[in-house]
């Protein structure tokens, strides 16, 4: 196993370390004010010093993000299936969804706060609103691009539309769905944090706003880094699921075509 840790496998580590080293060097070399851009060492010091508030608020952000994302997955798959089912629904609903997706979610947050008050609910809903669109589009695309010849084979066997969906449409949507999940989870973090920044009493977004108003720039950056770590972790989890569940989509390059 150790031999498998090749240069390629360790590349992400090298690149991350290199980024922080350059950052640190730049801060020291150009004597950048901590208030403008804190050096990584200062940020890590802040992380150690404020580990408990960071952890507590990270946990709030994580669960609101996951709750919003879970709703987005359920709702997104359901709507994606409906949209992919019929051309008429596809054509009717698509412009509406594009319009909806074009609305900046920052603009919606104050409305959500008016409706549901300060707290976790607006964050969950913002995470949901921002992440459901790619899921709908990808599921619908997966269903809509079923090979017509394959459909003919099944229809000549007397298969109903539902049969074709179950046996072909939905399984072949797997790779599209997982692609969307990986994009969606990172978007969901953005949504939750945006909402926390505008109005919340917990969460990393809230922590960063407070730290900013106290001029604790290293803590603001510590918040950013903890968000980045959460995003990477969630992405990695979905990537592992993807590899397990739709392994057939990663067919090797030596395999025969067709």
């Amino acid at each position: 196993m150790m031999k498998k840790l090749s240069v390629e496998n360790l590349a992400p580590v090298y690149f991350t370390v290199a980024l922080f080293v350059i950052w640190e060097a730049a801060c020291r070399l150009f004597k950048i004010d901590t208030f403008i851009l804190p050096a990584p060492t200062e940020i890590f010091a802040a992380m150690v010093k404020y580990w408990w508030p960071l952890l507590k608020n990270s946990f709030v952000t994580l669960w609101t993000t996951m709750a919003g994302f879970a709703i987005a997955v359920v709702f997104g798959i359901a709507l994606g299936v409906v949209v992919g089912w019929s051309r008429t629904i596809y054509r009717g609903l698509y412009p509406v969804m594009i319009g909806f997706n074009s609305v900046p979610k920052v603009a919606v947050v104050p409305i959500l706060i008016m409706w549901f008050g300060i707290g976790e609910v607006p964050a969950i809903l913002t995470a949901f609103l921002i992440s459901f669109f790619p899921i709908v589009v990808n599921v619908a695309t997966g269903l809509a691009t079923t090979e017509p010849e394959l459909e003919d084979v099944l229809r000549a066997l007397g298969a109903s539309k539902l049969d074709i969906m179950r046996k072909v449409g939905i399984p072949r949507t797997g790779p599209y769905l997982f692609g969307a999940l990986k994009v969606g989870i990172t978007l969901a973090f953005v949504g939750a944090v945006v909402s926390e920044t505008i109005g919340a009493n917990a969460g990393v977004g809230h922590l960063m706003v407070q730290a900013g108003s106290n001029f604790q720039m290293p803590l603001v950056f510590a918040g950013l880094i903890s968000l980045a770590i959460q995003g990477i972790l969630m992405y990695a989890i979905f990537a592992v699921f993807e590899r397990r569940m739709v392994a057939w989509a990663f067919r090797s390059s030596q395999s025969a075509g067709g």
Binding site: E147, E149, L150, D152, V153, L154, R155, A156, L157, G158, A159, D163, K167, V168, P171, R172, G174, V246, W248, A249, R251, S255, A256, G257, G258
Partner: protein
């Protein structure tokens, strides 16, 4: 018995209505191996969809065993130029797909799965894929995929097998191998076959009857009985009568292409 009686099919194309078939009349006996040959774009594939009821004729009637075809027939097996196997299923699971859809197998599927698996394995053994049942389609060559596709189209023992240029994408040697596979399957099970092809040797080797279609709008311009006795061996392809038949068909097609 399959009868197409004076069938015309017109559909709206991008530049006005297109007539794919005009007044086509065709008879195929039960258990007969019929081949349809013709220049490209003559509506051969349209003919397949009409017979299986996937599309309805604009005028005229299509009937199977005396009953008019009004919707998708529920018993036909189909195979196309591309194997169209499902990449997330193994070969065995792909072959068993029709059993999950066609009655009465569907109702019994979960209960009699083991029996159906044996049935699918037996069929895979006939086409020489027994050892590859647990492979995925994308791990196999084009010829092997096409064998699996043939098994899939036959697993539910259809009375009618529709083949749309099933061997067109294969190399010459694999193609001849699969001719023999198809010949053996047909002789064993005795289903009716309609084979659409533009390979005249393929038609002459496999079929009882060859129908020649004209260029679009397609219709049957000539029907030839193939006199060679069964069982046929690949050697028949090198006999003078065989070459003569292919040559005549070739001339006929050149003629209808000229006329277009």
């Amino acid at each position: 018995m399959i009868v197409l009686d004076n069938v015309t099919l017109t559909y709206p194309g991008r530049t006005g209505p297109v007539t794919a078939l005009a007044g086509t009349t065709l008879h195929v006996r039960k258990g007969e191996f019929a081949a349809v040959v013709g220049p490209s774009g003559c509506g051969k594939s349209t003919l397949m969809k009409l017979v299986t009821g996937l599309i309805r004729p604009t005028s005229g009637t299509v009937s199977i065993d005396g009953a008019e075809v009004k919707g998708p027939v529920k018993v036909a097996g189909m195979a196309f130029q591309h194997a169209n196997l499902l990449p997330w299923r193994t070969v065995l699971q792909n072959v068993m797909l029709p059993l999950e859809i066609v009655e009465p197998y569907r109702r019994r599927f979960s209960r009699d799965k083991a029996e159906f698996q044996d049935k699918a394995m037996a069929l895979l053994n006939v086409v020489g894929l027994g050892a590859f049942a647990d492979r995925f389609p994308w791990e196999m060559s084009g010829g092997m995929q096409q064998r699996a596709s043939l098994c899939r189209s036959l697993i539910h023992q259809p009375a009618l097998l529709m083949l749309d240029e099933p061997f067109a994408a294969l190399d010459a040697f694999t193609r001849e191998e699969l001719w023999c596979v198809l010949r053996d399957l047909w002789q064993e099970f005795g289903f009716t076959v309609i084979l659409v092809t533009h390979d005249l040797r393929e038609a002459a080797f496999l079929a009882d009857t060859i129908h020649v279609m004209s260029a679009r709008p397609g219709r049957i311009v000539e029907t030839r009985q193939v006199p060679f006795p069964r069982p046929r061996d690949l050697d028949v392809c090198y006999r003078a009568e065989f070459t003569g038949l292919v040559h005549e068909l070739r001339n006929k097609i050149a003629e209808v292409r000229q006329a277009a």
